[in-house]
Assembly symmetry: C2
Homo-oligomer: 333 residues x 2
Amino acid sequence: MKTRATLSDVARIAGVTMMTVSRVINNKPGVSAEMRQKILDIAREIDYRPNQIARGLATNQTTTVGLVVPDNTNPFFAQIARGVEDHAYERGYNIFLINTAEDTTRELRALDSLWEKDVDGLILCSSRLPNSRLEKQIERFSATVLLNRELKTPMPGTITINLNDQNTAHLAVSHFLSSGRRCIAHISGPSNSNSAQKRLEGFKAALKAANLPYDASLVESSPPDTESGHTAAGNLLAAHPEIDAIFAFNDLVAMGALQYCLEIGKQVPQDIAIMGVDDIPLASIVRPKLTTLHFNQNYIGRLAMRTLLEIVAGEASPASIRIEPELYVRESA
Amino acid sequence: MKTRATLSDVARIAGVTMMTVSRVINNKPGVSAEMRQKILDIAREIDYRPNQIARGLATNQTTTVGLVVPDNTNPFFAQIARGVEDHAYERGYNIFLINTAEDTTRELRALDSLWEKDVDGLILCSSRLPNSRLEKQIERFSATVLLNRELKTPMPGTITINLNDQNTAHLAVSHFLSSGRRCIAHISGPSNSNSAQKRLEGFKAALKAANLPYDASLVESSPPDTESGHTAAGNLLAAHPEIDAIFAFNDLVAMGALQYCLEIGKQVPQDIAIMGVDDIPLASIVRPKLTTLHFNQNYIGRLAMRTLLEIVAGEASPASIRIEPELYVRESA
DNA sequence: TTGTATGCGTTATCAA
DNA sequence: TTGATAACGCATACAA
């Protein structure tokens, strides 16, 4: 590794001070045209690149943001991350990606390390932190976007982006009902997940609105992955063979449920209908193709990054953004 | 956002110089036990965290590494990234994630920005850069791990990790042959991908070893995603309806091919066998379950990070690591 | 065991 | 239009 050129290298060669070099590098006025050109030439010649660490120390801006997700392997968050990174790239930012693995200790350490790294902003997805701790953490960052998590009271410098979980559940139940389903089960997400709670509420509300009773034994909580969905469906159907529809927490879970139903010889959707949430790419690949409540994750990711930069620029006020689902009827329901 | 405490804040309160505080923060000897404890207490009290930007400037170490992938949304790289991040977390490192979208311009900009950010090391996956440019880029980093990419000649401070692509193709063809397939097609990856080229070579070699002729019209190049696999299979089968086996570049492509075959009413694997590569989680979810050449991506990711840190620590010599595939026979072949 | 001086590469504030 | 000086927060070498 050859040692990198610095501002003073350029300055020495050009026979000027670091300041004038700094001015041209940062496109600031106050330098003659010929001097500017000369410096630019030299900089290119010796392959000078500003040291962002030093710049960060001087300006308190790192052109760096933190992205914290439960699991970047989950297609939902993978797509979100891609959207975030795409927009970050366009704006000249770099992103620190950190997984929490649904572990609050790890989440706390993630936030600490981002703070130490002095990121310009934070995008925190599906935080599992209790409110008080969460607020304490967020206060340390000058700009934060909370994804999949609400705040009891607005906080300066933070904007929340949430899926409309209530409506999501409502659309699912309505669709089941309108296609004649009568015994609807729900595989709920992690009980400490905000979305899971909201969707369960929506599920209950939708039943009530249809004058149907709510039976708690038709709801099974599960981690948000395929195997867990598989076993949850097993439990549900063992206790209630009469189930003719399952509303799953997300597509991954729905996938597992679908697989289980197929394994025990059920026809989908004839015998039992299955609906997921998210519309991950997988949903349209599996057979039967998954009916799901679509969210455009790439767009949400970009939106999160864009919003974050607006906060950084001081152009945004505390706000909460709600994203609406769209019902994509495919083959499983 | 409240302003953060600095070393000198702690020092002032403790009534000592920054130096002694620095010593206890970094666990260095030369401080009395009581002083150490007192400073620790104060630091916790005012929630002091070392500013890694400043520390980085002073030490030239940022405890930060860059991870460059074509697409973090591709399950293969998502798993790799997870492995990298998991191990980074354990070692106290943060990772910059950047997508190249298979675009060399974007890849170059990614590497430039990582260099400016002064990362301690670089993990570069599936670089699409021509050799000369690649070498020029790598020289700038003190430690780099190249994944899915070979180097003509070893370079100081860099280690390559590659899948054994030749053997991968060989295992696929052998399995097809031993199960009686006679007309084997290959959906090859991007022509500028190292892996794609090697697998194609292996494919040819395996045919030759079996005394079978190589027919170039049985090979179709395709981007490494599901839709592309779908259309590639379409092209192949339109020209050669007699194809009874397809070796796909990866599971995503295989998935698309599988879907296409099902759509035109072929039975898999009775009429046509399909094999992928990677063993992404999806492979065991889809129906029929995909037979594939398994690689443990999480392990590879961790290995890459571990290896990188060994280079950083000066404990490693230039080397090339080769990962062997394992045939996972499931249902599609 | 503790402190002083200096530097890392850059920007900001004045001055010339 | 350019330059001198200080500052960002911390670590290193050397003294005391």
